[in-house]
Amino acid sequence: MTALPMLALVPADHFLIMTLYAFLVSAFFAILWREDRRERWKLFGILMAALVGGGLAVAWLMYPFPR
């Protein structure tokens, strides 16, 4: 599949792709599940920290087992 020219500028960096994913998912659920602006920011922060922090924790735990 031909990569879209604009998004193809995004480098194939695992952490960046994971962070972008966490950002999009966190924003989606914050808007879906909360009505108040302050509550949305709070949930966004919690989800973002959980996804990025959880990803890093799993990566750290898997480090001794590369295969």
Binding site: M1, T2, A3, L7, V10, A12, I17, L20, Y21, F28
Partner: protein, 132 residues
Amino acid sequence: MTPPPAPESARRSTSIAMVLAWLIPGLGHYYLGKRKTAAAFAVIVTLTFLAGVSFQGRLYTVEQGQPLTILATFAVFGTGLLNIAARLFSENPGGVILAPTYEYGCAYLLTAGLMNLLLVLDAFDIARGRKP
């Protein structure tokens, strides 16, 4: 004394809202009068889908002997017209399995579809008055 007017969402058709929500991300919410929320959902879901295509992920189809592809196909078809357009205009809808970002692309595409299916259910709840 006249009763207060019903909210805009209460005067809209549930089925139309759900079909619009499936066709184009955010359109169901726009139809129900939630303009800002609709714009935010449209940007998020479309960006997730386009990132998945750009990362050379796979637009799943059902395969014999691979029951999980049924679920994956259902998820990807959740993005409505985005999915159909990508299948029509892309050179390789099956993705590029050797690309380093292939797995990420698949995850993004599946997530975009599931997000939009949640928006269809959300539009249903709003149209029925179960959610403000």
